[in-house]
Symmetry: C2
Subunit: 510 residues, 2 copies
């Protein structure tokens, strides 16, 4: 960042005009979001300084501009789960093969993606050791050890860590990477009711991350049997949608594991009647994928568009000196503006760099997605005002310096809300009800998020997948939304013609 040099910059201000302003190239994006979404995305995450590509495929460097977003969301979520008396812990990165393979369905789901350490230094290990793709099997042997009686329950743990899934298909920054950061919560309860309740409480926190922080509308719902977590009882998720690619994307998942893992790992307790019982377990996670969804939903042809709540810099203040105007006065006004905003709790910085033109700076901070730009030039100084330019809709307005803080607050609130509203409009415009196979295929070809009545049979889901298989991927269930439209008596499944049980979202997905 370029702030903090205000004093020096301001003193040197009068020399500045004389210096040559560097002509930098390559600030724009060469691909457009509408024309080539994939290229646009790869470019915008790099040009917006979120990501640097790494020399190992599928691994990415998360730059400070990413980490600041991650830390803001983390601070929110961590505080909320602490209120729920969930405690942070840290389990090892490594899993021994015996433990990893204990839950059959689970390991079947993850085996192809597991990375194995077989050597240290020049020596072969006696037994290859796996790197965690997730930590159910890492943790649960110890749940078994720690849980004895009903007073040891609930046991509620969370960890912030990296996990590794050595996928080979289409690595994509944030969305599909071989290593990613996440939190994973693992909890055990005496009763199914408590587990069920927590599943939804966590899911609500995930909804708030997406809707309140990232300004992305999501659907809360239940995954199909086919799409649920490997080894779990049922999976709930928040599902987002990317209109440009017509793909759903699983935003975060909150699983009830039931008693499957408890059985395999012998997590038993003596209940309050003195009987032996098995615990009910949940696990839940969200990852750095959140940030990728945010880029896809809000970004435009000028670069990233960050919702104010998660932007490391909410307001960038740029001096616009002009010929013989009072340059020092302009720089001082910039300083005062940043100071006033910082003191009121806003994340504001100034860009006093003397080797870039104001125009270059506008483009630079637009590329990085800063929600609000404030420009201060001679005319603004004369009128005791600043010019504010919104990143989301380019709207310009002049703000009297007297009412600066309140107006900035209102504008940032408005940007946050407006980003959500626009994203919701776009998402809603993609939702298409389909009652027949023909309607379904037509909607799929139009890249819709399809709401269709379904018989809920796994064979039918597999069949739909097989029938829609093509170059750009098959359709699958996204979720059965908790908010179900009325399902009229006699409604039939769009695919099988059997009686429908649920309205379910279908579509291609990430």
């Amino acid at each position: 960042m370029a702030g903090g040099e205000a004093k020096k910059a301001s003193t040197n201000a009068n020399n500045r005009k004389k210096k040559e302003v560097k002509k930098e190239t390559g600030l724009g994006l060469s691909s457009k979001k509408d024309d080539n979404f994939g290229e646009w995305y790869s470019e915008v995450v790099v040009s917006g300084e979120l990501i640097e590509y790494y020399d190992i495929s599928g691994c990415y460097i998360l730059r400070p501009w990413t980490m600041s977003i991650w830390e803001i969301i983390q601070a929110f979520f961590d505080a909320e789960i602490k209120k729920m008396k969930i405690k942070n812990c840290y389990f090892p990165l490594f899993v021994s093969p015996g433990v990893l393979q204990k839950e059959k369905d689970h390991i079947e789901g993850f085996a192809p993606e597991v990375a194995w350490v077989t050597k240290s230094g020049q020596s072969d290990l006696d037994v290859p050791i796996a790197i965690r793709p997730t930590s159910e099997t890492v943790m649960y042997p110890y749940f078994s050890k720690w849980i004895r009686g009903h007073r040891d329950l609930p046991l509620k743990l969370n960890q912030w860590c990296n996990v590794v899934r050595w996928e080979f298909s289409n690595p994509t920054p944030f969305i599909r990477s071989r290593e990613f950061l996440w939190q994973e919560g693992h909890t055990a309860f005496a009763t199914k009711e408590e587990a069920n309740k927590e599943v939804l409480e966590i899911l609500e926190l995930y909804r708030r991350i997406y809707e309140d922080y990232l300004a992305i509308p999501v659907v809360k719902g239940k995954k199909s049997e086919h799409e649920k977590f490997a080894g779990g009882l049922y999976t709930t998720s928040v599902e987002a949608f990317i209109p440009h690619t017509g793909r759903g994307i699983q935003g975060a998942t909150s699983h009830c594991l039931g008693q499957n893992f408890a059985k395999m790992f012998e997590i038993n307790f003596e209940n309050d009647k003195g009987e032996k019982a098995m615990v009910w377990q949940n696990s839940w996670a969200y990852s750095t994928r959140t940030i990728g969804v945010m880029v896809m939903v809000h970004g435009d042809d000028k670069g990233l568009v960050l919702p104010p709540k998660i932007a490391a810099v909410q307001v960038i203040v740029i001096p616009v000196p002009y010929k013989d105007a009072d340059t020092k006065g302009i720089f001082d006004a910039c300083d005062a503006t940043v100071k006033a905003l910082n003191e009121s709790g806003f994340r504001a910085e100034s860009d006093f760099r003397d080797n870039y033109s104001p125009g270059w700076k506008y483009s630079h901070w637009e590329m990085k997605g800063v929600p609000l730009r404030i420009e201060i030039g001679p005319k603004d100084l004369a009128n005791d005002q600043v010019r504010a330019v919104r990143r989301d809709n380019s709207a310009k307005s002049d703000i009297p310096r007297a009412g600066l803080v309140e107006q900035v607050k209102d504008m940032l609130d408005d940007i946050q809300q407006s980003l959500f509203d626009v994203a919701k409009q776009n998402r809603d415009a993609c939702v298409q009800v389909a009652r027949t196979w023909d309607e379904f295929m037509e909607a799929l070809n139009q890249k819709k998020m399809i709401l269709a009545p379904w018989c809920e049979e796994e064979e039918v889901e597999k069949d739909v997948k097989a029938r829609t298989k093509g170059e750009i991927g098959a359709a699958k269930t996204l979720c059965s939304p908790f908010e179900q439209p009325a399902l009229d008596e006699g409604t039939l499944c769009f695919a099988s013609g059997k009686p429908a049980k649920k309205w379910t979202y279908w579509g291609r997905s990430y």
Copy 2:
């Protein structure tokens, strides 16, 4: 934890007396710190619920009681480095072999401990991939890419992550583990002066972690050429000492890397005169080892002793009901006490569990090292007071409930200071000046931290190591302290008889 159940517990208070109080065994430690330090340490980290041993040797589970300490220190350090405009990032866990091997001295230092991933799923990887033992070689190719001109400097990054060093000798929780958590800072400057300055600023933060938070006295100094960071220019460290084992322990290190890595990774920039120049780099780290040092220094035969500043629970409030006394009144007083302390910013909890006796609870919270215990029984209730018992020195006092918050504040401050003072006395009592080889050997056999005049020749250091090699490890240099006693003209090296250049600390070490 057992708090938050106050209302229910309080209502059920009168039933409680009738219930059978479970006799739990195994609360005490079977080894004594003075008798068998190693056993004592292994036991106390488990019984104090910091650690659970894991089924892969050298890997440990960090339980919530550990993570709360880690998070408190992390919050301090992270805020301080953010003030220094150091930004967090996250680089991949994996390193490709070519990059890892680029700096010769560096890889020589780490090669034997590197864990290699060679398989994913059932397939062999084309090229084995290393897991980071530290991230110099992971990051610096990108420093080279990002740094072009002097305006790109300084570049100051930090990451919080896990690293893996597959050591085979003596795995010890926190102190020597195959995976550990740390922060690693990596910075690049235009001038050596700036780099030098930051090395010391960071070292001062490390001193504050040890002395102000963990209440452990440390010596700031410079490592010898032999002991410095592999590939760096010079290494500074904070060095602690464990009197019970007579071993020094490197607490944290702040390295100036000079231009070695810049040369290998071609991290060049155009300076303000338009000339091509190489950057000056630092790297610095502290790890979960800090927590192990804290356990070793403060723990006693009753368990952990946590300094108040880093204790997840600073005050544990325990009801002591007695026969037909006003049990509800006692529980309410406990609730009110916790509430008053929490509202004043103290981390206080009550233990209302009805299946444990007060005595069991005393032992339990002593084992976990909670700095202050408050007991409330019928007599306390009658006198409108509470009984406070300090963990560090077992001192008991009665505190009128009117002045509770101020007195608790004073006591916690006093405990924090007193832990440091006692630790410093114990450490200082171990420091022994040795001017000759005989004095040196005598002091070494007495497990001292030896301050000796040294010629600073690497060959002499290697020779001392060779001559002191034995079952319990050789002596080596710990550091040359920045605070040097006067070195009188003509003082000779204790080992070589050549003219001495520096007073240097020597000893066995972890």
